[in-house]
Point group: C2
Chain length 358, copies 2
């Protein structure tokens, strides 16, 4: 399956399905034939797990091995790899290939955006989260002590190859975490996707024949939203809609300590909290339907009992970089497949958080 992301001269294709890794190799071979130097920034685990594919890649590209953990998304790693690229004589026509999960995509994409003021890059996401989330939209970035993704750039790839074969070896929990973003896409803008997942119910697994289509529909929705608001400058709606469940989710990740909850797990809980907010604001309540789909993907539905204060939770949300001037902005549902952005009074938010933390 092929999806076109329409962004004028920055448009590109996403190839989705089993075996598209080989298609990527064909395209890379063509570049090499044109004297383009390729540098593949790859997750060391992926290289180990897929040694045959790594061997094939090594014939075409210089491989730069990176640990796939969040700690790699830092200035030090960017500086180190930029120096390495310069030493290996990477020039303006050279291309970077990001091969791994979201961390690798964010890091390699950011390096591609700043090395020599920007060179081209391709993505081969190997996790479900990276396939449906970071492969569309061109957001790249690193973390600083003060917060995640506070430094970065918008830099669109030349192409994305989402080969579902990589998902076979993905740990169960990682697969579930990726599903949170798929469910999110259904909820905020693709009622058909959400209903399909409802109907599949507990039969859902990474081996289900619907997997490629679920990824395709998620990417297509995101691509449509990004095409209309590439740099997240719309004053309402737009790219911000993709943050459904994320304002709550980011606070959960931060307060419980990064890594306690996977991003997707925090988003799953965050979507149910956002539903509570929708309920208070407009009466729209889809708790049962959301919970069902979330549970079928083996995702958590609420935070573990811990001493987190309502004030800390709300403060963590106010510090989110989507918010400016201390306003609290949220994405709420009007219906399944229909979301909007709203600014919500602090008192209302506090009440919802209080109820959810109980």
């Amino acid at each position: 399956m092929q999806l076109r992301v329409n962004l004028a001269e920055r448009s590109y294709n996403i190839e989705i399905g089993s075996g598209v890794f080989n298609k990527a190799l064909e395209i890379f071979a063509e570049l090499v034939a044109k004297n383009v130097k390729l540098f593949c920034i790859a997750d060391s685990c992926v290289l180990k797990r897929h040694s045959d594919k790594a061997k094939a890649m090594r014939k075409l590209a210089d491989i730069i091995e990176v640990d796939g953990g969040e700690a790699s998304k830092c200035f030090g790693k960017v500086a180190e790899i930029c120096s390495l690229l310069a030493q290996k004589k990477a020039d303006r026509k050279s291309c970077i290939i990001a091969w791994g999960g979201g961390v690798i995509g964010d890091l390699a994409g950011f390096i591609a955006s700043v090395y020599m003021r920007g060179i081209k890059f391709y993505q081969i996401p190997t996790t479900l989260l990276a396939m449906v989330d970071s492969s569309v939209g061109g957001k790249t970035g690193i973390n600083i002590e003060e917060g995640k993704n506070l430094v970065g750039a918008f830099h669109q790839p030349q192409g994305v190859f989402a080969d579902i074969d990589f998902l076979d070896t993905l740990p169960e929990r990682e697969f579930s975490a990726g599903m949170a973003e798929v469910i999110k896409c259904g909820l905020l803008g693709d009622v058909k996707l959400f209903e399909d997942l409802e109907n599949i119910g507990s039969d859902w697994s990474r081996n289900h024949s619907y997997l490629s289509e679920a990824i395709f529909r998620s990417c297509a929705l995101k691509a449509k939203i990004v095409a209309e608001d590439e740099h997240e400058t719309a004053s309402s709606g737009g790219r911000a809609l993709l943050n459904f469940g994320h304002t709550f989710g980011h606070a959960i990740e931060k307060l419980y300590g990064y890594g306690t909850y996977r991003h997707g797990e925090a988003v799953a809980i965050g979507m149910l909290m956002a539903n509570e907010l929708s309920k208070v604001l407009s009466g729209a309540d889809f708790k049962e339907r959301i919970s069902h789909v979330v549970a079928c993907s083996k995702l958590p539905m609420s935070v573990a009992n811990q001493e987190i204060s309502v004030a800390d939770f709300v403060n963590a949300m106010a510090g989110d970089k989507k918010n400016s001037n201390g306003q609290l902005r949220f994405v709420v549902l009007e219906n399944i497949g229909d979301a909007k952005t709203v600014v919500v009074d602090k008192a209302i938010v506090e009440k919802v958080v209080e109820d959810c933390l109980k």
Copy 2:
């Protein structure tokens, strides 16, 4: 004088003349009234030399003091200031003001391009070089051990305020270095500018009434070229024309040790070397006219006698990031005010370098 730089939705104005700093303060005050937080990244020498202006700025913006030397253009400084911005709660609507010479503009512009994936910034250049060179074109960047400006971004400012009053306190040698870029603009695309400088001759000084117009014409030429080739992707001509004298100049800076020759001094010598290349390639020779104008700006015309080998010189040029696949590209003159890019055979380049190093 006001110049419009036309870059679609990234268009902006450059204000040039005496006292435009106050105009900048008015615009910043309007932003503050709209609750926009301002962060002024300023050269510590400028703050010291212009304490009244610094006081006025401090009322509107949070000032982040930086040493104006080339060493500040590094990853460490970018990381440090990004953290500082986050601690001071700079958000997506916050603006950065770059106040200083080229180093400050390049550093602050790069920080603005990556903090929260890009926030707005203004420039108040305080050197002639920064006014005519780095204030147009949106090139920002830092150095890595392997080379200057190897990391950076294209990020256009919201506005530039080139107040010539700052030039009063500029060291003589800095002013001359800036003149090299003015002369370059005349040579590659503005015959009127070059002829004006020829006619003014030895009467030229920073107090000459033509100063604002010389800056205006230089910026206007650069703006026209940048508007046609924003990201330097044209296969010939385009932004690369602005490198007239620079391929030779960069090699001089590198081989004699950064700092031995100011960038502008190296470019002045480089322009005369490029003229020799033009002469060999097409017979076009303007040595006398270029030397006259260069001398009137108190710029050097050849490198000091030192043991630099031709091979080292040519290798240094081949390593320039404008070159790819080992080709040697140069900008040569067809006439005063008319330049073009050419790929030149290594043997010819070696001969020219050999003659010039004698």
